[in-house]
Amino acid sequence: MKAFTKLYDELDSTTSTNEKITALKKYFTNAPADDAMWAVLILTSRISKRVLTSRSLRESFLRITKYSNWLYEESYSQVGDTAETLSLLLQSLDLARHESIAPGETSDKSLSNWLEVDIPELAKIKDEDQRAEKLLSFWKELTPLEIFILNKLMTGGFRVGVSEKSVVRALSEVFNLETDQVSHRLTGATDPGAENFKRLISKEKLESLPSQPYPFCLAYAWSERTEKDWDSQRWCIEWKYDGIRSQIIRRAGAIWIWSRGEDDISVSFPDIAELFAALPDGTVLDGEIVIIKDDQIQSFQELQKRLGRKKVSALTLKNTPAAFIAYDCLETGHEDIRQISLRERKQILEKLMTPLLSKKIRLSPTLNAENPEQVEDLRALSREKQAEGVMIKDWSSSYPVGRKTGYWWKNKVDPLTLDAVLLYAQAGTGRRANLYTDYTFALWSENKELIPFAKAYSGLDQDEINQLDYWIRRHTKEKFGPVRSLEPFHVFEIGFEGIAASNRHKSGIAVRFPRILRWRKDKKFDEADHLTTAFKLLDGTP
């Protein structure tokens, strides 16, 4: 734990990529393989399993220390993070180990030991008093920073300020490997264990595990720079679908579906998996999963009903019929074909797919544009076609690893927008702790009430955030715990990608990816948009 804590501290206290890589290399050079594998999984956000909720961590703390609830809440509102608040309060109560005690004076449990033995054992304890006792015994042997890390590991979603690219680079430099190789082996890796680390850094050419996907190629935003020397022969244009980017893996007699976030989502889409049984073994396809009803691609909201469930019920399967739109082929006849051109890959794809084509398995059509203006026209048409824009790919390009400039571009439709009134604010977390940065926006109803319709966290720069924070503190009507209700005053232009009817929200609508586009200081709050305007948008979009 000490070595990992030191690594965390070093990564956290520099903004220089080189320094971060140096720290990573130092760690990977010395760490035992099982710890190193855990570290890889943690640093690249591949494990985010929650063993305890933040709430139960807090409850345990309050129970064992008899700490006053309000004082905890005041502290939390200053820190904005449960794991960190607890580490600081434990320090204040002398229930943490003093930092200045030299390493070696107390025994140090390895990262693997914590993650494989101590934390799972803690999770098994049902009795709350016993669990609190156990937690306290953990905390007492750790420094405040170690407590913070342990708490984060238990509550899941631990984010460390380092990119996957840096981790890959450090590993490849320490173990003398190609970065693409490490990157590929890491794709789809989710399991700890020394063996898995050895696989990751092996010098030999390894058969990849049958389930392992390829790293996804990611697109850059289309820019005017690239329009200058437009050549209609060079570019392959396709719709950009608002679904789940996925790889279909047909290997070893089985089928896996991987999402771009490198989750195995096979269980969520058994209807799709089943259809690909007819695909020849040793095939990998790249495409998009969407929900199609009455030949219409449905909103992303519909797609989400499939996710996060251990088993999808027959009713859900019936109500949300999934389809796969294929646009690339990465492997055929057990052979990696990422190096051949997109044109050739498309030909192979078509041949493979033709016998399978149906309502549920489709090929992504290629569109025509003679000039950049026609690309714009297509883009403008995309909502009508239930797409969120167009993709522009180089016909002659191989399938690159990760985001590499020049091959794949995306040109998305402009977001839908509404002018809404800021109605509630809540302090953010992490970097935004103790700053009011989580905003709720409202639209006018027919009877002149402001009805919340969207929450947004991003879109303002630091100056605007500070300015707004200052205003919020002085124009609070009421406080409900961490939330402040505000005098209706400020109007913001809110952009979002999609809008769908929803009976879970008072407003009757749910929007996708809402964010602040502009602070409309020119508008008074009674000039903000009405809900009826939002309902009109419903018809124009998927």
């Binding site: 206290s13 005041e74 109560l93 702790a433 103790n434 002085r474």
Partner: protein
């Protein structure tokens, strides 16, 4: 002070208080003087030379002897000054006043006011931790204690200055290929760091112009500091590779910083206790080092003074108010214009 605490501000008309808050500052009527007034007055007693406590324009100033050179530097040499030794009693009007060390910065004082057998103490800003650059805080028994509350939350707990200085030293030594820029307040914090660093090294430290003059005043008053040189004294092209440079926070991301190629940056302040604050301010490294009392020190100090009534001036006053009230203290708030000296966190 938070807006919601305003309604609790002591109503000055209804109570016969020795010290009360006015629009000019804290006022003592029987002595007809103000403590750290933010507007010009006839007689001003100054607790310490930080700019939110020491304002120019008053007719006469009283301060501790060790505060005088800093005060003169800050508000001018021409004013009428009365400097008292720590503990020296002086009659002003119907009151007897004296200054006692507050441990905040060089010359910082608590003001003790005695009137008709009652003793009030105004703490100014104070800390309890050891600091080789100023006199240690003295506990003064009183009936009413007027305290700051800058860091009045239990998450604030300081390690000793020496331990933190060692961390600063290690950080500096960890990368001798780059300049190390440490940002901290020009008056007090910088000199505390310079005094602590002397325990670990005799290397030279370079100073931003704003830190330099104040450091000289410390030296002239017998505070033992590590060797320093002004950044400006080095010839053009000198790289500062492997050097430690101390500068005020206002220089962070300023054009002044361009002089240093690829520096590592850190900020020394109590606010650095919270990770999110450090990241927001854009410093790579944060060192938790404060010249204010932490939560435990605040509470211990209030207990030690024996006061049953406590007034709070600035900082997290609402938290400390509730906490002390639950413990049975009589707690009141004063509205002042003192800042959370180490810069507001919000």
């Amino acid at each position: 002070m938070k807006a919601r605490a305003w309604h609790k501000i002591w109503n000055i008309k209804t109570v016969n208080n020795l010290v009360r808050a006015t629009s000019e500052g804290l006022y003592c009527e029987p002595g007809n003087f103000f403590i750290d007034p933010w507007k010009p007055v006839q007689t001003a007693l100054i607790t310490h030379a930080h700019s939110d406590h020491a304002h120019a324009g008053s007719a006469q100033y009283f301060c501790a002897e060790k505060c005088l050179p800093l005060l003169k530097h800050r508000i001018g040499h021409e004013n009428k000054y009365h400097a008292l030794k720590y503990g020296e009693k002086f009659k002003i009007g119907d009151t007897v006043i004296s200054f006692h060390p507050a441990g905040h910065i060089l010359g910082s004082s608590q003001v003790r006011i005695e009137y008709k057998g009652k003793v009030w103490v105004v703490s100014g800003d104070f800390k309890r931790g050891e600091d080789p650059s100023c006199d240690e805080f003295e506990v003064v028994h009183c009936d009413v204690f007027i305290s700051e509350a800058t860091f009045a939350l239990p998450i604030y707990r300081w390690e000793s200055g020496e331990v933190t200085a060692k961390k600063i030293f290690d950080w500096w030594q960890s990368d001798l290929e780059r300049p190390s820029l440490l940002f901290c307040y020009a008056l007090g914090k910088s000199q505390r760091v310079l005094a602590e660093l002397k325990k670990f090294t005799d290397k030279k430290v370079y100073l931003h112009g704003a830190v330099e003059n104040l450091t000289e005043i410390y030296r002239k008053n017998g505070i033992d500091l590590i060797d320093t040189a002004p950044v400006a004294s080095m010839e053009k092209g000198y790289s500062f590779k492997g050097d430690l440079i101390i500068a005020p926070p206002s220089a962070h991301r300023s054009t002044w910083m361009k002089r240093f190629k690829d520096p590592q940056t850190a900020f020394a302040s109590g606010w650095m206790q919270v990770r999110g604050v450090r990241r927001r301010k854009g410093y790579e490294k944060g060192f938790v080092l404060s010249d204010h009392a932490d939560w435990i020190e605040l509470n211990r100090t209030i207990e030690q003074t024996g006061a049953k009534t406590v007034y709070l001036t600035h900082g997290k006053t609402d938290v400390l108010e509730r906490y002390l009230t639950e413990k049975g203290y009589e707690v009141r708030l004063f509205k002042t214009e003192y800042e959370d000296q180490e810069e507001a966190s919000s």
